[in-house]
């Protein structure tokens, strides 16, 4: 099923991953793709690792992504990026928020030093960019904006779906956050091979 694309949104309960997944799936459907998405509810959401799997293409069967087949990994913090990185196919794109959310009680964990700067990695300070856009909670939109820059769908679709899903009073900062992420991640010249500075 090589004409199916696989996206993972990985983070921690409470980071807005469910909404991000919903938005992404709506955008892909509006873009004319068959879409399937699988998410985590219940017990795991209480501070545990949360991953939403999204697949799109002309026809999608399984709602689950296979290890080694991830085209786009969007990690909402570094530990979750590290957890899922082995699921990426070679040449896949990692979009990550540079923050680290430690498991309860911990203040350090061992992560590879080059995690944020490997080739094919876009590392952003999504919370700060979201704050600048007017809403810290819109960090999820910054990351989606970065993804949008690489999925090749018209940004207008994203804005239309955003309008449908986000309550009016939060729309503007979410819109800005999305554009901010888009602008930071635009695949200009050879930025992908070197990875933008973090």
């Amino acid at each position: 099923m090589s004409n199916v694309n696989n996206i993972l949104l990985a983070g921690v309960g409470g980071q807005g991953i469910i909404l991000a997944g919903k938005l992404l799936a709506e955008v892909l459907a509006a873009g004319g793709f068959d879409v399937k998405l699988s998410e985590v509810h219940g017990m795991a959401q209480r501070g545990g690792s949360v991953v939403t799997q999204v697949r799109f293409g002309p026809r999608v069967y399984s709602p689950l992504v296979s290890p080694g087949k991830v085209d786009y990994l969007v990690a909402f913090e570094q530990i979750e990026a590290w957890r899922w990185i082995s699921w990426m196919r070679s040449g896949g794109l990692l979009i990550m928020d540079e923050q680290i959310i430690y498991p309860a009680g911990k203040t350090q964990v061992s992560l590879p030093e080059d995690l944020t700067s490997r080739p094919g990695t876009i590392c952003l300070n999504a919370r700060q960019l979201a704050r600048q856009a007017g809403l810290v909670k819109a960090a999820n939109m910054v990351l989606l904006g970065a993804l949008a820059a690489h999925l090749g769908l018209d940004l207008k679709i994203w804005h239309r779906v955003l309008e449908d899903l986000v309550p009016a009073k939060y729309l503007e900062p979410n819109r800005k956050a999305l554009e901010e992420g888009f602008a930071r991640a635009k695949p200009s010249h050879d930025s992908l091979s070197s990875g933008p500075p973090c």
Binding site: M1, V12, G13, K22, A25, E26, A29, D34, V35, K36, L37, S38, E39, V40, H41, G42, M43, A44, Q45, R46, G47, G48, S49, V60, Y61, S62, P63, L64, S66, P67, G68, I79, E80, W82, R83, W84, S86, W87, Y102, P103, A104, G105, K106, T107, V109
Partner: protein, 570 residues
């Protein structure tokens, strides 16, 4: 028009389109969103019942009154509702009745991974298994038609990956189904033994007719491709299509009773036959019993969830994936969670704790480590009584801990048992005014209905006293000293006692000002870390973005180094 829907949203939509007018459930992952979505449709009377047995019984009444009915629950909920379930299999229905059982292979959010397909077989009732959201919607309508035509309840069995995966669904219109008239018919509905024998025969005859339906229905369909054949159902169909795109597939939508002729014909047309199913060899054993040789469980095993990768590995087509290297991140009680203090105290008092199911089950994990058992909803109180029956010395060393929703679900009868049979068990009811674990559903003591309307709020204390418990105390969940005092008093008291520990769920209240550690006073003893609060980091430092100002850490700090506005009132 197409919309992206989860399986649960699609089932709700299916109920709406097929003219369901009564929908009943008790929450449970992965079934909860079905009723939450049905409740958006004013044309359907939807409600949370206190437990699954009551939910099904309400559904039975509504069906008798002629309504089309949907009842939903997680897999273990059907254990609770099994009693009415196995007998309405005899009585049949009036208005169509579909029971949605959402199973949880892999135990994403459950205490076991039982395979509820056996409940269809045990009851002799037809079962449908959708393979995606579109089918989830359609199968509700199909289930209701079968229910009315064959005079039977129907089991619609989903799994977590159907319930919580989303896909495109074609929407239809609402079809109205006026109430069918009720006619008194004791031979059909009064299951005294003489009538039961007749109705068991009727159910057996019905099953024979349903077998013919299974042969003819388009939801049991053959996709002819290569010489390798696979019989499969539900989400496994999707995994088979990914892993064995060239295989011929017999995709079963109606998985009980089985279309035996269709299966035989299919088996003859292929050289090699696999049965791919999650959990138990439900299809496989029945097919083997027909004398057909198949491969299945010896490859896939009976544990956990399948996916296309695992399927490919079990078929020897791919290597196993590398295991994850990042630190694990087990779920934890939230910052400010009102359950934390209770477990902190129970651990310090070295009590044995018969636990129960809810967010508070997380009190079993380190560093709180304060729960000895967690079996099923309501089990804490009976188990505590049992400890004491085995050795009266346990009365002072063992307590039961149960959430408010769980107490109302199945905690009242065991408490009655404590009173009736002379126990002196101490029960702590963790009253956070909601069913938090499953996403904050209302219940009979929360003061609101599923639809958000005000409802009478049961007075827990009066209820407990009415059961015959004389010693009832209320304490503030944020007051460690008060909890400690109450637990000491009540475990010492030689009679049944209940401590109601109250505070609203931290996710539903606005936070108080975050606390701060006075670094001049902190000597790094880490007493505060024993609370297992995600807001407190080694050092000790409090993350102001996470802290909700509950004040527990300032109460356990031996040096008074944690301060700020803790806002402990009550």
């Amino acid at each position: 028009m197409k919309e992206i829907m989860s399986g649960n949203e699609a089932i709700a939509r299916g109920a709406y389109e097929s003219g369901v007018s009564v929908a009943v459930a008790y929450p449970g992952t992965p079934s909860t969103e079905i009723l939450e979505n049905i409740a958006q449709h004013p044309s359907i009377r939807a409600q949370w019942s206190p437990n699954e047995k009551v939910a099904l019984e309400v559904g039975i009444g509504a069906s008798l009154a002629g309504a089309r009915v949907l009842v939903a629950m997680k897999h273990v909920g059907l254990n609770v509702a099994a009693d009415p379930w196995l007998t309405i299999a005899y009585t049949g229905v009036n208005g169509g009745l579909v029971l949605v059982s959402a199973d949880d292979p892999g135990m994403h959010s459950s205490q076991n991974e039982q395979d509820n397909r056996f409940y269809a077989r045990m009851a002799g009732v037809p079962m449908l298994e959708p393979a995606d959201s579109q089918e989830a919607k359609e199968f509700v309508g199909l289930a209701l038609r079968i229910s009315e035509e064959y005079d039977t309840p129907v089991l619609l069995r989903t799994t977590t990956r159907i319930a919580h995966s989303k896909g495109l669904v074609e929407l239809g219109e609402r079809g109205e189904h006026p109430l069918r008239p009720y006619t008194k018919d004791p031979k059909k509905y009064v299951m005294i033994p003489a009538h039961g024998r007749l109705r068991h025969q009727a159910a057996a005859d019905r099953l024979a007719k349903l077998t013919r339906l299974a042969e003819e229905t388009p939801v049991n369909k053959v996709e002819q491709r290569g010489k390798v054949g696979v019989i499969t159902a539900g989400v496994c169909y999707q995994y088979v299509r990914e892993t064995l795109p060239e295989a011929s597939v017999l995709k079963l939508g109606l998985t009980y009773p089985l279309p035996k002729d269709k299966i035989r014909t299919f088996a003859q047309q292929v050289d090699e036959l696999y049965v791919i199913e999650e959990l138990e060899p439900f299809l496989e054993e029945q097919i083997r019993a027909m004398g057909i040789s198949v491969k299945g469980k010896e490859l896939t095993g009976v544990l956990g969830e399948l996916d296309q990768k695992r399927l490919a590995v079990s078929l020897g087509l791919e290597d196993p994936p590398p295991s994850a290297s990042a630190v694990s991140r087990p779920p934890v009680l939230c910052p400010g969670c009102p359950h934390r203090g209770v477990f902190y105290v129970l651990r310090r008092l070295r009590l044995t704790v018969m636990g129960d199911i809810g967010c508070y089950s997380l009190g079993a994990l380190p560093p709180l480590d304060a729960m000895d058992t967690c079996i099923c909803m309501g089990s804490s109180i009976g188990s505590a009584l049992g400890m004491e029956k085995a050795d009266p010395a346990w009365a002072e060393r063992c307590v039961a801990v149960i959430g408010d929703s769980t107490f109302l679900h199945s905690g009242m009868t065991p408490l009655l048992d404590v009173v009736y049979n002379g126990g002196s068990t101490t029960v702590l009811i963790l009253d956070n005014s909601t069913t938090a674990m499953t996403g904050h559903q209302d219940h009979p003591a929360s003061g609101r209905t599923l639809g958000g309307d005000p409802a009478p709020k049961v007075d827990l204390e009066m209820l407990i006293r009415a059961l015959g418990v004389r010693r009832v105390q209320r304490v503030d969940a944020y007051d460690l000293a008060a909890i400690r005092r109450a637990v000491r008093e009540e475990t010492a008291a030689p009679e049944p006692s209940v401590i109601i520990v109250s505070r609203s769920c931290a996710l539903r209240t606005s936070p108080a000002r975050p606390l701060v550690v006075d670094e001049a006073k902190c000597n790094g003893c880490h007493a505060c870390l024993k609370l297992g609060c995600p807001a407190i980091q080694e050092g000790a430092r409090i993350d102001p973005h996470l802290c909700r100002g509950c004040g527990l850490c300032s109460q356990v700090c031996p040096r008074g180094a944690i301060g700020g506005d803790s806002n402990v009132q009550c």
